[in-house]
Amino acid sequence: MAAEPEPTALAAMALGDDDARTWLTEHQHPDGGLVLTASAVVSNAATALGALALAPGEARERALDHVIANQAQRLAANPNSPHDPNLRGWGWTPDTFGWVEPTAHAILALQVLRPSAGSPLLDGLAVLADRECVGGGWNYGNRVVLGVDLPPYAQTTAVALVALQGAEPELFVRGLTALDRLWRAERRGGLSLAMALAAFRLADEPVAREVERELDAELDRTGLLDDVVALAWTAIAAGPGIDAIRRPA
């Protein structure tokens, strides 16, 4: 299976791997993007993680420039939509709507590496507030559909908390409370556990130790189904790689 930007970026952070960083640099597009391309569809969502993985320097700055230049499309104004049409966030591809996970990755990269980013960063934070599920936490990015409240998930709640790291305090606390409930209900998912561990460790929450024990057991039992993204997040969350995603004090 050919190497791809997202697992390579995660592996670079998890393992401090210079070969992975070199691969990212060699596969970076001139505009800074790290992409998967399928004809008209360009998936650039891994660029933010790539920026976090790259060493300080020109390649990292170009990746951050790409993130800022590729916010999602605005939602069409729709009286039936609960979401703010003035916000953008980031999508999995730059020509669609913004969603929670790619928005969280972009916020994380900007908060850690370019906190002076200004309006794109504020827009991303506003998107997370706008997409928060009723009662706290996040799913992929739809709070309400056709008048029905949609529930939050552990994995997407965790990735949003990793991005926030205390920013938007009320939103953050509601998310932590939701995640404390969700990870227990979704403990059969390795990616959910790994990202919950990262979120709780970054927040210095004691429950992180309990999550780590559960993740260890799941890793032994299933190998996380060899999902390389889940394995890389496990290594980041449980090891020193977490410092690569820690927001500066």
Partner: protein, 350 residues
């Protein structure tokens, strides 16, 4: 042309010249323009008179292996010596809702396919809402059921990918990344849940093909497909996958605000076919829908399979006598049998 030959040939000749429109608005107009033929006819042979079997199955505790075996035999399924991928629907998991193809039916199908002589059977899915596939397949009991029949599971969201040109152009995607296990399979079996769908009216074996499209390219949810126009994307994606066989799980289906928030519907039926359009036409009729009013099915019937009920050889239970009244959202009442007026389809953001 078998699916492997089709996909190989597709790779050789590249993207066809039938490029239509950009974005959902223009693409939606294509559905209304019967003068346009946005597909390469050389890749889609005339459908003939396929056979579709409707079989009673009142419970997941029934002898499903025998029922599936009989169902496949009734539609002339040929899997001997072939590599087979079963593609169920696990878009999401909620313990209280009939969202997913039941794992017991999937395990029974593995056994039935083996008894029909398949060389290899794999179960594969790429959940559309949840990135944590392990959570979905573990919590739903799918992995445990597959363990009992010693069948492997492949996550289509993380499998190796191959770029394939499209030979229909209802969207402006032109090309899709598809998982290697789907491209390499001799036979793909689409195994949807019989459900209503809050953007498409119904979700059956054609719509189920969305789960073959990898989230790590197209996102969670697979918003690129919605952005391209939902009905149009259903046609292009299913025309690229071309599932060889279908089993619609209507033992317990979903009605109302499907495919996630609806309520259970005890239909007690399985639908078997070897033509995805004919299968979906039959399943839609069983749900009380007029398939000619479901845009994705009606349009797919122009080139991808047989959409005329008069040309579908129905075996097993009588379709009209077995038809049920699946509740639907008000905007899809126009798709129901005997409804007055047209159809309102509002493809929302997800």
């Amino acid at each position: 042309m078998d699916r492997r030959t089709f996909l190989k040939r597709a790779a050789q000749v590249g993207v066809g010249a039938l490029v239509v429109g950009t974005g959902a608005g223009i693409a939606a107009e294509v559905l209304l323009d019967r003068a346009r033929r946005p597909w390469d006819a050389s890749f889609f042979p005339p459908p003939g008179r396929p056979r579709v079997a409707v079989v009673k199955a009142t419970s997941y505790h029934a002898d499903l292996e025998r029922i599936v075996l009989d169902g496949f035999r009734a539609v002339g399924a040929d899997v001997a010596g072939k590599t087979v991928v079963l593609k169920p629907n696990f878009v999401e998991y909620d313990p209280g809702a009939a969202i997913n193809t039941d794992p017991r039916l999937i395990a029974a199908t593995v056994l039935a396919i083996r008894r029909l002589g398949a060389a290899q059977v794999t179960v594969a899915e790429g959940p559309g809402h949840r990135r944590d596939t392990q959570f979905v397949v573990e919590s739903s009991g799918l992995l445990e059921s597959l363990h009992e029949v010693d069948a492997p599971f492949v996550d289509l969201n993380s499998a190796a990918l191959v770029a394939r040109p499209l030979h229909s152009s209802y969207t402006d995607l032109h090309e899709l990344w598809l998982p290697q296990p789907i491209v390499d399979a001799d036979v793909v079996v689409s195994m949807p849940k019989m459900k209503t769908h809050h953007w498409a009216g119904v979700t059956l074996s054609l719509k189920n093909c969305f789960g073959c499209v990898p989230g790590r390219v197209y996102g969670w949810p697979k918003n690129v497909l919605h952005w391209a126009g939902l009905a149009e994307a259903i046609i292009d994606v299913s025309a690229a996958i071309r599932p060889d066989l279908q089993i619609v799980d209507g033992i317990v289906g979903m009605q109302g605000n499907g495919p996630i928030q609806g309520t259970s519907m005890q239909a007690g039926l399985l639908v078997f076919g070897a033509d995805p359009v004919a299968t979906d036409v039959t399943a839609a009729r069983l749900m009380g829908f007029d398939p000619a009013r479901v845009p994705s099915i009606a349009e797919a019937a122009r080139f991808l399979g047989q959409g005329d009920p008069e040309r579908i050889e129905q075996v097993g239970e009588d379709v009209e006598r077995s038809a049920l009244e699946f509740a639907t959202l008000p905007q899809f009442q126009g798709m129901k049998v005997g409804a007055a007026g047209g159809v309102g389809v509002d493809a929302g953001p997800a």
